[in-house]
Symmetry: C2
Subunit: 402 residues, 2 copies
């Protein structure tokens, strides 16, 4: 065989690469959303007009004037010390319990590397964050899943799953990507208690924790766990939704023994997160992000209202959706038997995009669900896009029932 054929290379790929690192059908479909003129509710993109560009430009100027060597030289794997300390102080932990990572996605990859042995059971919500499945898959876990529905987690299923002692449970309690679901206080407490009782670590992915539209934030799983005197939760969060995703700066909070192992893994993975980016984030975030976050909340809440109203106006009665109290996503349920992937094909012809729910399900299911992102579109796009989507549903419904 000539050393230049595709087969030559493909037969040298690892088992994990062949079986567990693949382009999903959905990712391929989503490439269609890059066409010009598409109204996109698909990407989980923050609204770029809210990026604090001037503050970042001023910070960049200061950093390159005052600390160019530190910003541009190799830095410590653990993270830029000032940023680590700042996050530790804000989160009420010690700096040694914090690791700065290149986006939460890297935190998930490192956790997969450090915890998942091939064949390990990992417990996830259904639906769950597709990117977490992509991060974990190369480490070859099996998945258990517990339904996240209109009343939250199915607690009896959850307990039965925890009793089988999976390696860990991965949960998104706050305005979950994809469903926008907020786990209530009672369920948070139950989840933390059960996980501790059955000695199953919890990984809490909390990217949207700052984006409550109203009212006081609920305590995090991490806080509830520490409050009961245990140390069973690893928490991920990020500057991607409050500042900017393009700098790729996020963090993991975990027991020191876990942070030490993650640091060793990160050293072999990328040496460290870019120092300049961490310094930029530190400069802009150190005084608190209050006004910045208020602007984001106000816009996303308004968009949520617009989308909710448009759905009420344009969707057939057999379609249901939620009204998230924060975050960037709304979850829509088509009538049973209707395929969101089929709807996607129809809706993309009408130049409207969303993400079908299937790939957010580790063990299948959710064919009739879909995710709508309300963070980025304009008011006109929401009204026009939802109207077209309603027509696409009507037309598919006509076909299904005919």
């Amino acid at each position: 065989m000539a050393p230049h054929s595709d087969a030559y290379w493909e037969e040298r790929f690892s088992g994990r690469a062949r079986q567990r690192i693949q382009s999903s059908t959905i990712r391929e479909l989503l490439k269609l959303t890059r066409q010009p003129g598409i109204i996109s509710f698909s990407g989980g993109l923050p609204a770029p007009e809210l990026f604090p560009v001037e503050a970042l430009a001023a910070a960049s100027e200061r950093i390159l004037r005052d600390k160019p060597s530190e910003a541009l030289q190799y830095g410590p794997t653990e993270g830029y010390p000032e940023l680590r300390e700042c996050i530790a102080a804000q989160q009420g932990v010690e700096p040694e319990e914090v690791l700065i990572v290149s986006g939460s996605q890297q935190g998930l990859d490192l956790l997969g590397k450090v915890f998942i042995h091939p064949g390990d059971q990992v417990l996830v919500e259904a639906p769950t964050y597709m990117g977490a499945l992509q991060a974990f898959n190369p480490y070859e876990p099996e998945y258990l899943s517990v339904q996240l529905g209109d009343t939250g987690l199915e607690m009896d299923v959850l307990e039965a799953a925890l009793q089988t002692r999976p390696k860990f449970m991965y949960a998104l309690p706050t305005f979950q990507n994809p469903s926008g679901w907020l786990l209530d206080l009672a369920q948070r407490q139950q989840l933390v208690e059960l996980a501790a009782r059955y000695e199953v670590p919890l990984i809490e992915d909390d990217a949207y924790a700052a984006l409550y539209f109203n009212g006081k934030p609920l305590p995090t799983l991490f806080e509830l766990d520490r409050a009961r005197g245990s140390n069973n939760v690893i928490r991920l969060s990020t500057f991607s939704k409050t500042l900017t995703p393009g700098l790729r700066v996020a963090w993991v909070i975990a027991p020191k023994v876990v942070i030490r192992k993650l640091v060793q893994a990160k050293q072999g993975t990328d040496l460290h997160t870019p120092s300049f980016n961490q310094m930029l984030v530190y400069e802009v975030a150190q005084g608190g992000l209050g006004p910045q976050i208020e602007r984001i909340r106000a816009k996303y809440q308004r968009n949520r209202d617009l989308m909710h109203a448009a759905l009420s106006a344009h969707m057939p009665v057999s379609v249901r959706w939620n009204r998230p109290e924060g975050g960037m996503f709304l979850w829509l349920r088509l009538p049973e038997g209707m395929s969101a992937t089929e709807l996607f094909k129809r809706s993309i012809e009408q130049k409207v995009a969303f993400v079908p729910g299937l790939p957010f399900h580790a063990n299948g299911g959710g064919e009739n669900t879909l995710r709508l992102s309300f963070s980025q579109p304009t008011e006109t796009q929401i009204q026009e896009g939802i109207a077209r989507l309603g027509q696409a549903v009507e037309s598919l419904l006509g076909m299904v029932s005919s």
Copy 2:
């Protein structure tokens, strides 16, 4: 067992994390080099006074003024298109053969993920780059190694190893980290021929390719392989040694089928390399880095000369070292039986640091070797540091022979 003990977490680590992700003794030793007053020849750090700070500051201002949304929003996993095209043009390949990565270290991690199945044989040089072993280890390879000595690669050992069909060979032909060795044209050609004959892919890590002090650069393994009509080499290179390491921007060149798989793996690993960093590098590098690289070469060559002279003045005759024609490192061989790790302990008391050679050897050996970095120290530090190192060797030699 309480869920807050270290043992609780440790027993949940994956096999790879327990056995193949560990802090090396050397990394622990190197922490000692952070003490104030240490003259360090240990870190592979570029000289920070040569970072093009003003050009980067100007680029940052332009980017945040003209393209803030693109710089700060999520971007494509493949890389910032303009940078990808720029690298492709400079390297004579198609953009689809280029992937932008977060430092070469990430390229190595992704290659490990995509190619190494547990138990696979990977062929490396002895010595080889320690960071590559750290990147590959979590994927649980076994190593074959071929000595890189005063006459280059041991060609008969190399051929015998290639005949066993390892998964790939990892080579650093140009001013290798750690040894500073430059593989000559004849050996490059032989290596490329043998690898193609035995159908063993080559991974060429070429971070120092721009840092020839004199004369015309040799053709790369990648170029030699393409010239013979095959497509058997994956090549890594980086902006870390020519521009700045702190932005973490590097690239992989590979057949398109490999790039596609690496892109899928990278998506689950960190979504993408920060857009802002790629745009900064593009802005500064697009016109070519000629004058910037000339400054680096001039300084490193001068430092190499200073270190070579200082070694000649201060080292016992039983110590040998090379005189690299480029790069950042010089390799020193103590008399047989003398331990570079012992020397390190003695030398750190004299406030001089280097890196012992042992951890650069995948299968052990090299106890009497060490790496000296000449890129960063000042003239005074080189003269004073090498004098002290000479005394430390003399004193250890006295002990050994007494």
